[in-house]
Subunit: 171 residues, 2 copies
C-alpha cells in the first residue's frame, strides 16, 4: 500500500476527519512527497562517506525501498545497500528484520552494528547479538537520550556518539 | 547456500572430480573470493556516476547481496540500490525478478530500463514492458552481439551502446 493510501485511510477516521475536508488530493500528494526530500543531518553525508571506507554501510529502515532511495539521492547518503522492511518481509522491531539483514550481509552478528537514534531499535538489535551504536539526535528520543550510556559506563549500548563523523573517527 | 558449498558439490561430481583432489579448502575459498574483487569495465564506475545524476541506478543480478556489495566497493560502482535474486526470491530470467524490481522502484515498467550485455536478459525484461539497453562487451554474447540491433534499425532492443559512459551521454 502506498503512503497516500495510508494517509487517506487515516483521514477517513474520526480522529482526523476535521482535516480530511481541507486536504485535497494535491495536498495529500505533497505531504507524502515531503518525506522523500528530507535533508540529512549536517554530519550524515560526510560521516557515511568516511564510514564506507571502513565498513559496509546500509540502511535498515521501515521506510519503503523507493523512499529510501529518494532520500539517499536527495541528501547524498552513499549507502552500500538499502535494506527495508519491504524487502525483509516485516518491520522493526520484528526479529526477522535484523536477522534478515545479517543473513544478507553474511556476517556474524557481532561483526554487525546497528546505528540508531532510537534506543528501542538498539534493544531489539542487541537481542540478536548485534553491536549497538546510539546517536544522540536533538529531535529524537526526547527525555530518554540523556539516560543512554555505554556499557563501559554502566549502560546498555556499545557506543554513544553525537554524529556519524564522530563514529567514523572512532572506528 | 554459500558459493564454497556450491563449488564443493560441483567438485564432488564425476565431471570435476579430477580437480577435487588438487583444490584444497584454501584454494576453494580463494576461487570463490575472486568473484568479490573483480575489476569493473573501464567505463563502469564513471558511467554509473553520470547515470546516477539522471536516474535511479541499481543492479539486478543473480549474484548474492554480499557479492554485489563487495563488487561495488572494490570497483567503485555507486549503485543507488542493490537488487539480487536472493532478495527477489528467484533468479533471472524468472519474471518475478524483473517484476519485483519494478515494484520496489514504484515505477511504471516503461520508465525502467534493463541494461545488460546478454540479449536473453533483455528479452526477458522486454516481456514485462521494460525498456532495453544492450551493452556490447568483448567477452559476452560471443558470436551473438554483432546481430543485436536497435528497433530503429529493425532489431529488438531500444538502445545499443559500447559503454555506460556512452549511455549516460545519450540520456
Amino acid at each position: 500500500m502506498g503512503f497516500v493510501q495510508i494517509l487517506d485511510i487515516m483521514l477517513a477516521s474520526q480522529r482526523w476527519e476535521h482535516l480530511a475536508a481541507t486536504w485535497d488530493d494535491t495536498k495529500r500528494q505533497e505531504l507524502v512527497k515531503f518525506w522523500h526530500a528530507l535533508d540529512g543531518w549536517p554530519d550524515s553525508s560526510k560521516g557515511l562517506y568516511r564510514l564506507k571506507g571502513k565498513a559496509i554501510v546500509g540502511t535498515l529502515s521501515n521506510g519503503s525501498v523507493r523512499l529510501l532511495v529518494n532520500m539517499a539521492k536527495h541528501a547524498d547518503l552513499p549507502w552500500d545497500v538499502v535494506f527495508s522492511g519491504e524487502i525483509l518481509g516485516s518491520y522493526k522491531p520484528d526479529p526477522q528484520v535484523y536477522l534478515g539483514a545479517i543473513r544478507y550481509l553474511s556476517v556474524p552478528p557481532e561483526k554487525c552494528a546497528m546505528v540508531a537514534a532510537h534506543i528501542h531499535d538498539l534493544r531489539a538489535a542487541a537481542k540478536h547479538g548485534m553491536k549497538t551504536v546510539y546517536v544522540r539526535r536533538s529531535t529524537e528520543d526526547v527525555g530518554v537520550k540523556e539516560q543512554v550510556k555505554r556499557k563501559a559506563d554502566g549502560g546498555e549500548v556499545d557506543v554513544v556518539v553525537d554524529s556519524l563523523e564522530e563514529l567514523a573517527a572512532e572506528l
